[in-house]
């Protein structure tokens, strides 16, 4: 049985998925994650010796196609969904945090 995860670990896991929990949310999320992990821990009890894992149930294996670019001609419509644009481009905050270099 795995050790219980702490509130710090919960915040760490959230961070891995680019999420941040509010301090007030942490106790409940931590409790729920621990309950769910307790549930997942029961999987270990099932004997799966020699059993192959199944990751998909499709009957289509190795579907290939020619790698041809298609121009949908929908640039303007696509940009309409972007939260912030400028001159036909999507605007984002600074990618390089200069303070980290100091």
């Amino acid at each position: 049985m795995a050790d219980k995860i702490t509130e710090e670990q919960t915040q760490h896991i959230a961070g891995l998925a680019k999420l941040e929990l509010k301090q007030a949310e942490l106790p409940e999320f931590t409790q729920q994650l621990n309950d769910l992990l307790k549930m997942l821990d029961t999987l270990e009890k099932v004997d799966t010796t020699g059993v192959e894992p199944t990751y998909t149930v499709t009957d289509q294996i190795n579907v290939t196609r020619k790698d041809i670019a298609e121009d949908w001609g929908e640039r303007d419509a696509l940009l309409k969904n972007a939260p912030d644009t400028s001159d036909g481009l999507i605007k984002v905050p600074a990618i390089i945090d200069e303070s980290e270099d100091e």
Partner: protein, 484 residues
């Protein structure tokens, strides 16, 4: 116009005979929805252009050989459309409009059917009550204080209340069948690969399937005819030929072998148990052989599913980053902050919970213990199905152990909520087709029965479901609200 007592064939005849035009039908549908939906709250958005689409159909004339021509229908709000927003009932996508139509949406509109709106759901299809919507709570037409089930609860409530004759839903762990069960209608989760998911907002890609919700079995088969088939845009969609699902639907169940897994009738509400026994008797009377079978690994289904589905969902939902589309937090100073704030503000709690559990399931320390072990258990569950289907045509069970529960009762406890899907998850694990239809009532709430079939054998499910419907009258009853 409501559709409580009208099937697709009778609507089609009215259109062909010009007793009614497509415009009349759409006008009547929209005005009824505006009325009914004040209490049901099945729709997130109505289609402003539906009337224009109907005019176009009338202008070229109804095709007498195309049963869906001019028929109004609804789509679950995770199926993208150009004509109106697709939100997945999430603040993340509140203002999102796709630049293309999902394959199923395009197939239906090419056939002349008219999309009147997008239906409410649990956010990103995560839930089994439709209470996890960021926008509204949909009510069960049979009792407004009850949930309609989920995650396709809006689609189910729209059909059950007679707002539309047909709606599409999606089913990852039971999200078509459980709401169909709770609202007393027919919901089919087709075989994995039967229907293209191009344009379905992905939740767990090795499980997700789109399928029809309808008032009766025959209509359901007609709609599946229309949306099935290979699509180059979804490489998991099968190249197998699509039969006409109505062709042998009237052939009856004589000589059919139906198994009831003894593990599926544990802990049932007493009325549910009785309804399934009665259903078994009905099938026997009609000439089918019904016996007990064993599917011992099904009991691990919910847990293994939670390890796999959350892992897949956490990966699928990485794309919501606040950059190209969707919600963007307003005050982020760096790119990393923009990701974190947008996702933390845009996603609801259940979505966060599943992303975090999935992240854990896939993490270096846990991937063998959780994700891979669950994938092996998936193999064991598939083997259970193979064993039963070696000498049975169908598997019969309840769809849910209970009838519709009260709004607000279970949404505080995630594990309790996950257990709702215990009888529906195995079909998703194995990719087999499964359908829910009404098989009785408990305190005026519908009870659902589930029929599961061999891969790509939806026809046999429809055949048995149709025979059951012809010999029972549960499906003819309409919710109280219908009398208004």
């Amino acid at each position: 116009m409501n559709y409580l007592n009208k099937d697709l064939n009778s609507l089609h005849q009215m259109l062909v005979n010009k007793e009614i035009s497509a415009v009349d039908l759409v006008k009547g549908t929209l005005s009824n929805i505006k009325d009914t939906d004040q209490e049901i709250e099945a729709f997130n958005n109505l289609n402003d252009r539906a009337l224009e689409d109907a005019k176009a159909v009338d202008a070229r004339g109804i095709d007498a050989n195309n049963i869906l021509d001019g028929i109004p229908l609804a789509l679950k709000d995770n199926i993208v459309t150009k004509e109106l927003p697709t939100t997945a009932s999430s603040n993340m996508l509140k203002n999102f409009t796709s630049i293309y139509d999902a394959t199923v949406a395009k197939k239906l509109s090419d056939l002349g059917s008219i999309n009147v709106g997008k239906t409410n759901m649990d956010e990103f299809a995560m839930g089994s009550s439709t209470e996890n919507s960021a926008f509204k709570t949909t009510h069960n037409p049979w009792d407004y204080s009850k949930v309609p089930g989920g995650s396709s609860g809006g689609s189910a409530a729209a059909v059950a209340s007679g707002e539309v004759p047909v709606a599409l839903g999606s089913d990852t762990g039971g999200s078509i069948r459980q709401p169909a069960s709770f609202t007393g209608i027919v919901g089919m989760k087709p075989t994995y690969g039967r229907v293209s998911r191009w344009g379905l907002i992905a939740m767990a890609s090795s499980f997700d399937q789109i399928g029809p919700l309808t008032k009766n079995v025959f209509d359901n088969a007609l709609v599946l005819n229309a949306i099935s088939g290979h699509d180059d845009h979804d490489s998991t969609s099968s190249e197998k030929e699509v039969p006409d699902f109505t062709e042998h639907i009237q052939d009856g169940v004589k000589g059919m072998k139906i198994g009831i897994p003894k593990e599926y009738v544990n802990k049932l509400a007493p009325d549910v148990s009785e309804a399934i026994q009665n259903a078994a008797e009905t099938f026997k009377k009609l000439g089918a052989q019904v016996d007990w079978v064993s599917m011992p690994n099904s009991k691990y289904g919910v847990t293994a599913y939670n390890a796999l589905q959350t892992a897949e969902a956490s990966s699928n939902l990485e794309r919501f980053d606040g950059i190209r589309y969707g919600y963007r937090a307003s005050d982020a100073k760096t790119l990393d902050e923009l990701y974190i704030k947008s996702r933390s503000e845009g996603f609801g709690d259940e979505v966060k919970r599943r992303i975090m559990l999935g992240t854990l399931s896939l993490s270096y320390d846990n991937v063998d213990k959780y994700y891979k072990q669950a994938a092996k258990i998936r193999t064991l569950i598939i083997n259970d199905f193979k064993k039963v289907f070696a000498d049975h045509d169908l598997i019969l069970s309840p769809t849910s152990r209970v009838t519709a529960f009260t709004i607000g009762v279970e949404d505080q406890d995630p594990i309790e909520m996950y257990m709702n899907d215990i009888l529906t998850i195995p079909a998703n694990m194995a990719g087999v087709p499964a359908m829910s239809q009404i098989a009785g009532f408990s305190n005026s709430l519908p009870i659902g029965m589930q029929l599961m079939g061999k891969p790509f054998d939806e026809s046999t499910i429809y055949k048995a479901g149709y025979a059951f419907e012809q010999n029972t009258d549960f499906h003819k009853q309409t919710p109280k609200m219908g009398g208004k």
